[in-house]
């Protein structure tokens, strides 16, 4: 009873989610980005840990994901967007990023690290902010969120070229940027 294949699949999916989360949280903590000082240090341009981690993850992830896509092993999961969504939402997020000093992933890590400003103040704020958005959603979705809609576009799709025509230069630019950042001693 209750152990239908569908249920078992649902359960294993949840366990995989937990497992990926544990490794992700472990890496974030070892990277130092569960700390307010490291995140705000990045936004003050005095500590470049955050951008080093993001760019290294992006170049590693991109090469692997696009290689596996070429082999037919994975499909991309691209989010649709619009100028109204991504520019305005991104800037509002940025204000919160600096004022709170954590983001939705790193705040979970900050809680695990013992940071109470994250657990008591930050999480409550994020829940309230998400709730306000849900309340306003019916109006926003008919207006500003649709402005400049471009859908689930990727850069290779935008330029109408083979994936690797974009992947290789982006990888080289990121590696060069990291090399430059390291050579300046930042």
């Amino acid at each position: 009873m209750g152990n239908t294949p569908g249920k078992a699949k649902g359960r294993s999916e949840l366990l995989w989610g937990l497992a990926f989360g544990v490794v992700f949280g472990f890496l974030l903590q070892k990277g130092g980005v569960t700390k307010y000082d490291v995140i705000v240090g990045q936004l003050l341009l005095t500590d470049h840990t955050v951008i080093k981690i993001i760019l290294t993850a992006v170049v590693t992830g991109m090469l692997g994901i696009y290689a596996m896509k070429s082999l037919g092993w994975v499909e991309l999961q691209v989010k649709s967007g619009s100028a109204g969504m991504n520019i305005i939402g991104g800037l509002i997020f940025g204000v919160g990023f600096a004022v709170l000093g954590y983001c939705p992933g790193t705040i979970a890590g900050a809680i695990g690290n013992g940071y109470l400003d994250a657990l008591i103040g930050g999480v409550a704020g994020i829940l309230i902010g998400a709730g306000i958005f849900a309340a306003l959603y019916p109006r926003l979705i008919r207006g500003i969120l649709q402005k400049g809609y471009f859908g689930d576009l990727t850069l290779p799709g935008l330029f109408k070229v083979n994936d690797w025509v974009v992947v290789v230069p982006v990888a080289l630019i990121i590696v060069a940027a990291l090399y430059w950042l390291e050579s300046t001693g930042l």
């Binding site: 990926f20 989360g21 003050l44 919160g96 309230i128 902010g129 958005f133």
Partner: protein, 169 residues
């Protein structure tokens, strides 16, 4: 295995680790690593506790579905993974006020928590507006070369850098 007890790892090692983790999450779970929708679900679930099933009828909650899913478990896993890492290195410790904040605004826990709450409101609201956060757009979306994610990630940092300059300038 001495590196497991180190307080911090090279950002390049961590970045490569997260990149490889993203390969596995695409391969095994067919999903990109992301976090912020979980907070919207949690917010809706809390509201449902007080106002009942009708909350599920709200257009946004009908869209994202108020149930514990893969990503919800991932966020819980992040708390656990960070706790394990911090305990292994002895870096775990309860703290109300981060040192950088205290250097400019003092040691008041109440002030720091109040400001964190306000920042959280902007963060939670902005993440839903942009449909993603530093993980979903900033890492998983940009590595797929998604236009929506590159625009969002750039705007996260533009907004963040300007605001941090005002706060600490």
């Amino acid at each position: 295995m001495g590196f497991m007890t180190d307080v911090s790892w090279s950002p390049y090692a961590v970045g490569i680790g997260i990149g490889v983790l993203s390969w596995l999450s695409f391969l095994i779970s067919k999903k990109p690593i992301a976090c912020s929708t979980t907070f919207a679900k949690a917010s809706g679930m809390l509201e449902r506790l007080f106002r009942g099933q009708q909350v599920e009828q709200k257009a946004y909650y009908a869209k994202i579905k108020l149930k514990v899913d893969w990503q919800f478990m991932l966020v819980l896993g992040v708390i656990l993974g960070s706790l394990i890492a911090a305990l292994l290195s002895g870096d775990f410790g309860l703290q109300w006020v981060p040192p950088l904040w205290a250097a400019t605004y003092g040691e008041s826990a109440l002030l720091r928590v109040a400001v964190a709450l306000v920042g959280g409101v902007f963060l939670g609201f902005g993440a839903r507006w942009a449909d993603g956060c530093t993980s979903g757009h900033g890492i998983s979306g940009t590595l797929q070369l998604a236009v929506s994610s590159w625009i969002s990630a750039i705007c996260f940092f533009v907004g963040g850098i300007l605001t941090a300059a005002i706060l600490f300038g």
